[in-house]
Every structure is written in structure tokens, then in C-alpha cells.
């Protein structure tokens, strides 16, 4: 294990080191309590009945036989919920119409995708609950499903929502209802003039399949509706506060009546931001007066939660002979799933951001189809959009005979540039990643052997900030109990605690972070958007500064000197003016902590931050592949991920985010897809047939952390979780082209797709 600190972090004591994570032991002994592990006295088990059809009107639901089954205590349907207001609610990844949130949790008059929930049962055990599902009789009136984004956009296509009209660029709404929920556009310069300047123009169309986050823990939600009208929720979520706000809105409770306890969470990647089971568990608990735990099985997860959008995309890009890109036009049509809200906006913002292209036009369409409502998935929208743009850029470089990294460098966005979406760049590591990739042993090496190829691609994600909270109590033993609201999916307890320790000048091991419920800490946004180490760390920094001030004040009080004369040093020594005898007045953090109880009481530091800034992240990936021409199978031979992490607080977890992102990106590139038949039935709703990479499908993933500290953060943090999922697909595509001369136009680039593009010819 590499334990040395990087040159950028040598100035620090804690930041840049690799302590064992505080929650580690519980997670290797099986003691950690994830959502499904919870047992409460008198708890009931629940199951959800789901639609077998992709698009149908519900004519009737008869639950009487299920209710009569021995051991069944309650059955609920949409009509049992309070009527949801037609207003927006914060969902942790933006906002959504409350009625649609409820209808996605449980269908009202219409089912909009296979797996759409229609009823939920609570019983004394889950076997009985499952039996009860078979006794619920639902009558459907089948409607034609709309399964492809382009079909859905056509006039006359069957409509999912009669009330949905296209929101146009000027804020107006289309006259007639449509499956296109909205159209957005970013422009810069003069697009036609830009293409006129180009010597070479390449235009390509792409299609990508829906892909799932694929967290290994399935969804769960436990609720206990107490007799006094308060509601406790326990769930594996990326954001306890957004769950609280959505559940209270749906159940028409006040926020203060609902307490959400985030359990340990087995992965999320954006997919555990929406609520699915929590409101159902709440209503079942209200009806039965007992705690109710609902869990999904894997099939339900794949059918009814998450995925990221399938897309149709078109990119046209023009460049001069010397490689200067003069114009780029991007058309993005994203499947939102059953309700509006695809990440097309973020995709559009990111699509061309790594490059300073004078003339741009980017159009995005958010389109509903009869597939599950999409959820955020790691850099939502960017992997698709940048697959399209990076792919065309690679082809341009090939056409012009230019080195793809050189071409990127000569067009790279730098400090002072502004994207088409109006995002100004400050200090960024875009060029730094490209040059580090150029100098990497991988790029410098020769690739030998037949049917092998190398590809490279860039990735960009903006990252977000927003609200985080941190409370730190100084204990008499000189250690700090740190209370956080961010669920820890990948080591954020460690990386936030380390920033508190650094600020206080104490050891990482002396900080004890806890993730607590919504009644025990200030509002904290979701763990997502690569924001947690950034904003949570900032809160920890401010919390520590608060502690420093209070400790200095206390010392002043003990020494009976003026507060202004006392200072808290970065070495965790509090120093005052010399005493009458000229001896220095100083006391260590630990010694002063021991005196707190007898000198006026304990000290609690607090910080609640709300940051609208963030630190954009860039990455450059290099991949070598070998293609089996006879079978179309692609083997990843070597992979290098270069990424600007800003300051790498805990480098091992930064590397882990990079490697995990690469694995998901490679999965999206090669095999992961939602395979629907024409009736809208998802045929591969299992982890056997939804093919995520296994240990045997990947090589070691070489990481190269570039540290360009973010000047907009006390410790230079940028956020690292999302950008590494972006470059794999375009890099793999380029490597395949380099190996066998075929430019793929779809994701995944599965063996079948590659065979069809080569030996077998198109359909």
C-alpha cells in the first residue's frame, strides 16, 4: 500500500494519509446494520404487487381475498393515500411534482411500466405477504406501450400523460399534450459560421440503452407510525432529509413529525435518492399500528427503480486541418422513463465542456416512455452525452491524423473559459489530466499484438455543493464525537473526520464520526453529486474552527486574560500571553479538553454550510482492448484512469472511487443494457442477465491522481465520485476502432452488437 503523502498534501498532517475508516471494523465483521438488517419488536413484513404490463389503465383492484388470508394485516393501494397536491417537492436531485412522486410510488389510474407498484401488503412474515400478492385481483385495460425515445417524440404517439405538455425554451407550453416534457438549448457563437470554417466535419448518431446503478443492496424501507402521530422511518438512503421531506409531503405530515434514520447503505450511485418503499411502509404501519419493513428483491430493483436514461444522440463536429475545433452541434434525446425528469440538462451542460469551442449549439429533450422512472446515476446524463461528443472528437482526430490527446490539448478548456451553458471555469485540472495521461507509462508504452487497440477519452463533471451540517462535541478524553447527516457510501465518515482532525491539529483516530437521524443534526443534502467530502468537509472545517474559537475562549477564561490574546495553533496548542513570571501560557487541546467539565462545561462546535460553489472535475482515461473478431467479444487488457481530485483527502478512497467508476463505465460500454421485448417486458431483470462486470472481467485499474486544489474550498477538495464513469465508454469505443477499424454507434458495444457491425452485417 502506498502510504506516502503526495507533494500537494505534505503540508498537512492528516489530509493525504490513509487511516483505517472508522466504520471499517463493523463492516468486516458483519456487525454493521444495513436497512434490511433492522428488527423491531412486533415488526411486520411487507411486499409490493407490481404491474405485469408496461402501459395499461387500471380498471379495478380487488384486495379482499388477500386481506382475508391468515396472517395478512393490511393491504394498501394508491387511493388509500392522502390526495397529493399538484405541486413540486424537493426530491434531493432537484424537484418533482408531488402527484407524480406518489404515482411512481404506487400507481393511481394507470400503470406506466412493467413493475410499477399497484398494491402493498403487510403480513406476519414475508412468505405470507408474498402469498397474499397472488390473491390480489387487478383488472387492466391494455394500452400500446411506447418504448423508444424517438417513437415517443413523434406526433400521434400514444401518450403516457394526457396532462403533459412540452415546456419550450421560452417557458411556454405546447398546445397539445406530448411525451416530450421539455426542450432545452445552450448556444454559443454562430453555429453555421463555425461549420463553414471547418475543413473536416463529422456527424454521427448514437443510441444508448438504459443502464442500472446496480448497487448490490436492494431497496428497503421500514416505518413505524406511532400512536401519537409521529412517524419513524429507517432506510438505506443517500439522503435522509430529502426522504423526510418527501414522506411528510406525501403523508401530509409536518416535517417535524417525521424522523428518518439512515441505515448503512449498500451502494446507491444516485439510485437511492428517490423514495419507493418508505411511503408504502408508512401507510401500512399507520393501518396496522406496527412497524412494517418492506424490501425489494433484485427483479423489483431492476424493473422499478433507478436506471439512467436510454438515449438517441446526434453530434456534428467540425475542425480545421490543424485540429482546431470550430463548431459542434449536439442533439440529445433522453428517456425520462414514466415521469419527466431525465438528466438531459446535466448531460447537455457537460457534453462539450472540456473544450473551448467557439461555436456551439446543444439541444436537449426530456421524453417520457413506458419504462421505469429514471434516477440519478453517477454524473447523471454525462456518460451518455460525453460518449457521443468524445467519440466524434476521437473520429475527427483519426480523420485528421492527429494524436487524440494532442488534439484535446489544443482545444482544452482552461481557466477563464465559459461553457455554452454559461459556466465559468476557475482553476481547473483539465489540461493537467491530459498531460499526466500523455506522460503515463501506459500512454508511453507500445501496444502489440493483432486485434488490439488503444483508446483515450476525457470526462467532465461539474460537481455540486449545497447544505451540510456537522456537530462536534469535545470529550474529556481529548477526542471529538462528530455528528453528521451524510450517509457514508464509500468512506465519507473518514474523509470528513479527517478534515476536522486536520483543522483541530489532532489525529484522525481521535475523531469519532457518527451518521445520525434527521432529528439529531442539521439539514444535510444527499450523498451524491460528488458533494459529500466537499460540503461535508467544509462543514467539518467550520465546525472545527468553531471549536478552536471556543477552546481559545475557554483558555482565556481559565487564564483570566483577554480573549484576543489567546490563539489556537495548528499544532493543537492553545497559547496565551506570558504570565507575570514571563512563563509562556500554553495548553494542549487534550489537556484543555480534560478541564472543560470543571471550567464551565463541555464544548460543542457547530456548522451548517450551504455552498453554491463547487470544484469541477476532469478525468482522462486510457484503455487497451483486444477484440475477438469471431465472437465480437472485447477484453480489457489494461486501464489507466487519470483524474483531478483537487486535494485527495484519503487517497485510497479517491482511488477506489476512480476504480469503481471505471468498472461501471466499462460495464455500460460493453454489456449492461435494458433488454425489452416489444410488449415492454424487461427480459433480463436479474444479475445473471444484466451483466455487470465480475472480478474476471477487469484488469487492475491503474490510477493517477492529479491534485489541482480547488481554491473554492478550505482544503482544495473537488469531489471525485462521478467523473470517472464518463470516459470509459468513449475510450473503449476508440480502442475497438483502433483494434478492428469499426466505429460503434451504440451502447453497450456487446459481442452481438460488434458481430452485427462486422461479420454478420446489420439487420
Amino acid at each position: 500500500m502506498v502510504t506516502a503523502q503526495s507533494p500537494e498534501t505534505e503540508q498537512y498532517n492528516v489530509i493525504g494519509t490513509r487511516p483505517i475508516r472508522p466504520d471499517g471494523v463493523d463492516k468486516v465483521t458483519g456487525a454493521a446494520q444495513y436497512g434490511a438488517d433492522l428488527q423491531l419488536p412486533g415488526m411486520l413484513a411487507g411486499r409490493v404487487l407490481r404491474s405485469p404490463h408496461a402501459h395499461a389503465n387500471i380498471k379495478s383492484i380487488d384486495t379482499s381475498k388477500a386481506e382475508a388470508l391468515d396472517g395478512v394485516l393490511a393491504v394498501v393501494v394508491n387511493a388509500d393515500f392522502p390526495r397529493a397536491a399538484d405541486k413540486d417537492v424537493d426530491t434531493g436531485e432537484g424537484s418533482a411534482n408531488l402527484k407524480w412522486v406518489l404515482d411512481n410510488v404506487i400507481a393511481s389510474d394507470k400503470v406506466l411500466y412493467k413493475g410499477h407498484a399497484v398494491a402493498a401488503v403487510a403480513a406476519t412474515d414475508h412468505h405470507i405477504a408474498e402469498d397474499a400478492l397472488e390473491l390480489i385481483e387487478v383488472e387492466y385495460d391494455l394500452l400500446t406501450p411506447v418504448l423508444d425515445v424517438r417513437d415517443a417524440m413523434v406526433d400521434g404517439s400514444p401518450l403516457l400523460h394526457d396532462s403533459l405538455h412540452t415546456s419550450e425554451l421560452d417557458g411556454s407550453k405546447s398546445d397539445s399534450p406530448s411525451n416530450t416534457a421539455s426542450h432545452l438549448q445552450f448556444t454559443k457563437g454562430e453555429i453555421d459560421a463555425g461549420f463553414d470554417e471547418a475543413d473536416v466535419v463529422i456527424e454521427r448518431e448514437f443510441e444508448t440503452s438504459m443502464a442500472h446503478q446496480g448497487y448490490i443492496e436492494t431497496h428497503n424501507g421500514t416505518a413505524y407510525w406511532r400512536a401519537d402521530g409521529t412517524l419513524d422511518i429507517y432506510t438505506s438512503t443517500q439522503g435522509a432529509f430529502p426522504v423526510r421531506d418527501q414522506v411528510s409531503a406525501l403523508m401530509q405530515l409536518s416535517q417535524s413529525q417525521v424522523k428518518v434514520t439512515p441505515m448503512e447503505i449498500g451502494g446507491g450511485f444516485g439510485g437511492k435518492i428517490p423514495v419507493y418503499l418508505e411511503p408504502l411502509a408508512a401507510l401500512l404501519s399507520q393501518k396496522t399500528g406496527r412497524p412494517v419493513k418492506l424490501t425489494m428483491n433484485r427483479e423489483e430493483v431492476l424493473l422499478a427503480t433507478g436506471p439512467t436514461s436510454g438515449t438517441y444522440m446526434r453530434v456534428r463536429m467540425g475542425a480545421k486541418r490543424d485540429g482546431t475545433i470550430t463548431a459542434a452541434e449536439v442533439h440529445l434525446a433522453f428517456e425520462a422513463g414514466a415521469y419527466p425528469g431525465s438528466p438531459v440538462g446535466a448531460g447537455a451542460m457537460c457534453s462539450l465542456a472540456p473544450y473551448d469551442i467557439p461555436n456551439q449549439k446543444i439541444d436537449g429533450y426530456d421524453v417520457v416512455v413506458n419504462k421505469p422512472k429514471t434516477a440519478a446515476y453517477r454524473a447523471p446524463g454525462a456518460p451518455q452525452a460525453e460518449f457521443a461528443t468524445e467519440s466524434v472528437l476521437n473520429e475527427l482526430a483519426e480523420e485528421l491524423g492527429l494524436d487524440p490527446l494532442e488534439m484535446r490539448l489544443s482545444n482544452a478548456s482552461v481557466e477563464g473559459n465559459t461553457t455554452a451553458a454559461g459556466m465559468p471555469f476557475g482553476v481547473i485540472g483539465n489540461v493537467d489530466c491530459m498531460t499526466a495521461a500523455q506522460q503515463s507509462p501506459h500512454w508511453q508504452s507500445e501496444l502489440e499484438g493483432p486485434d488490439r487497440g488503444r483508446g483515450v477519452a476525457q470526462g467532465f463533471w461539474f460537481n455540486i455543493g449545497f447544505e451540510s451540517s456537522a456537530y462536534g462535541q469535545v470529550n474529556g478524553d481529548g477526542q471529538v464525537s462528530l455528528v453528521l447527516g451524510s450517509t457514508d457510501i464509500g468512506g465519507t465518515r473518514a474523509s470528513i473526520a479527517m478534515q476536522l482532525a486536520e483543522t483541530l491539529g489532532i489525529a484522525a483516530e481521535d475523531v469519532h464520526p457518527q451518521v445520525v437521524d434527521t432529528a439529531s443534526v442539521g439539514f444535510t443534502q444527499v450523498t451524491g453529486g460528488s458533494r459529500t467530502t466537499f460540503a461535508g468537509g467544509w462543514a467539518a472545517y467550520e465546525c472545527a474552527m468553531d471549536i478552536r474559537n471556543q477552546m481559545a475562549q475557554r483558555a482565556a477564561q481559565i487564564w483570566e486574560v483577554d480573549e484576543d490574546t489567546v490563539e489556537y495553533g495548528d499544532d493543537a496548542i492553545i497559547r496565551g500571553p506570558a504570565d507575570e513570571d514571563g512563563n509562556p501560557r500554553e495548553i494542549s487541546f487534550k489537556d484543555l479538553a480534560a478541564q472543560l467539565p470543571t471550567s464551565g462545561g463541555h464544548i460543542v462546535g457547530r456548522a451548517d454550510v450551504n455552498k453554491t460553489s463547487s470544484g469541477p472535475a476532469f478525468a482522462t482515461h486510457i484503455v487497451d482492448v483486444e477484440v475477438d473478431r469471431d465472437t465480437g467479444k472485447v477484453e480489457i487488457l489494461r486501464y489507466t484512469a487519470v483524474q483531478d481530485a483537487g486535494t485527495a483527502i484519503h487517497p485510497a478512497y479517491v482511488e477506489g472511487q476512480m476504480q469503481g467508476g471505471v468498472a461501471q463505465g466499462v460495464g455500460m460500454a460493453l454489456n449492461e443494457e435494458y433488454y425489452y421485448d416489444e410488449s415492454g417486458d424487461l427480459k433480463n431483470a436479474s444479475l445473471l442477465d444484466y451483466r455487470m462486470p465480475t472480478a474476471l472481467d477487469l484488469p487492475m485499474i491503474e490510477t493517477n491522481i492529479v491534485e489541482v486544489p480547488n481554491p473554492g474550498h478550505p482544503y482544495g477538495v473537488r469531489g471525485v465520485g462521478e467523473v470517472p464513469i464518463i470516459p470509459p465508454a468513449p475510450a473503449v469505443r476508440a480502442a475497438i476502432a483502433n483494434a478492428i477499424g469499426v466505429h460503434m454507434t451504440e451502447l453497450p458495444m456487446s459481442p452481438r452488437a460488434i458481430l452485427e457491425a462486422t461479420t454478420l452485417g446489420g439487420d
Binding site: 500500500m1 468486516v28 448497487y215 448490490i216 468498472a663 445473471l688 472480478a695 474476471l696 477487469l698 487492475m700
Partner: protein
């Protein structure tokens, strides 16, 4: 549809256990719901992910694909049995030191599987490790650090 219950006698983590299981319970359900060993995780409930991996009579199995009633007389070892009191096993320590877990939901299955590998092959190659662990899915780590943790526990030098 009513189901009956069965009494099962077996040894779990070295302790004799007698428990009442629903006849329909899998070993996974019995361990989690009847005995309270929730370190054993469910990721797919059909043999595809390895999160529920336990050692049964010296072999790793997916506990979701074993009926509880089948376990009469069996020797079972779960993640809860890996440490010796508060002494973590070398593999557990290696997972912590190599940062081989992010969310940690796959970790119990990987630990049980990797322990069985090292018992029968104390010095595995990278390919052998990857092959042995191919039935254990991890979505967070890209496997790199998991493989390195196993290498570390095998006493191999890890870069």
C-alpha cells in the same frame, strides 16, 4: 398455502444451534431472520451475486440457494465467525488496510469466499483470485483493492 415449520440442528460459527425455520426458508433467511446473523447479506436471492456466501461443510455456497431444512447436521461459517473475539483475521485486516470496501455490502461474502480460497490455495495467482471470486459481485470498488487485499492476506507483496 400455509407452511409448516421444521427444527434444524446444526453448528454455526462453532456453536451448536437448534432453530425453528419455516419450511420455505432458505439458509439465508434462517440465518438473518431466525438466528439474527444479519452479516450475511442478500443481493439477488438467486445465486448471482455472492453477497450471501457462507461456508457449509468446508465449501462456499450461496446461502440463498440452500434450504434451511437441508442444513440438519451441517457445519456453517459466516462472516460473524471470521474474527477470533476482537482479533480480526488477516483477511479482515487486509480488507481494512487496502480500503477494499466502499459501501461494504459485498464484503461479508467476499471475506468468506476469499478465506476458503486461501485455505485450499495459500498462494493464488491474480487470475486464480479473480476466477474464485467471480461469483461475488462488487459494484463499488472495481475489484482492484479487493484482489490486493487477498494478495496481502496471502503474504504476497502488493504495490
Amino acid at each position: 398455502m400455509a407452511s409448516e415449520h421444521v427444527v434444524v440442528n446444526c453448528t454455526i460459527n462453532g456453536e451448536n444451534q437448534v432453530f425453528l425455520a419455516n419450511e420455505r426458508d432458505s439458509l439465508l433467511e434462517a440465518l438473518r431472520d431466525r438466528i439474527g446473523l444479519t452479516g450475511v447479506k442478500e443481493g439477488c436471492n438467486n445465486g448471482n451475486c455472492g453477497a450471501c456466501c457462507v461456508n457449509m461443510d468446508g465449501r462456499i455456497v450461496n446461502s440463498c440457494l440452500v434450504m434451511a431444512a437441508e442444513c440438519e447436521g451441517a457445519q456453517i461459517r459466516t462472516v460473524e465467525g471470521l474474527a477470533d473475539g476482537d482479533q480480526l483475521s488477516p483477511l479482515q485486516n487486509a480488507f481494512l488496510e487496502q480500503a477494499a470496501l466502499q459501501c461494504g455490502i459485498c464484503t461479508p461474502g467476499f471475506l468468506v469466499a476469499a478465506e476458503a480460497l486461501l485455505e485450499q490455495n495459500p498462494d493464488p495467482t491474480e487470475h486464480e483470485i479473480r476466477y474464485w471470486l467471480a461469483g461475488n459481485l462488487c459494484r463499488c470498488t472495481g475489484y482492484d483493492k479487493i484482489i490486493k487485499a487477498v494478495q496481502q492476506a496471502a503474504g504476497q507483496s502488493v504495490v
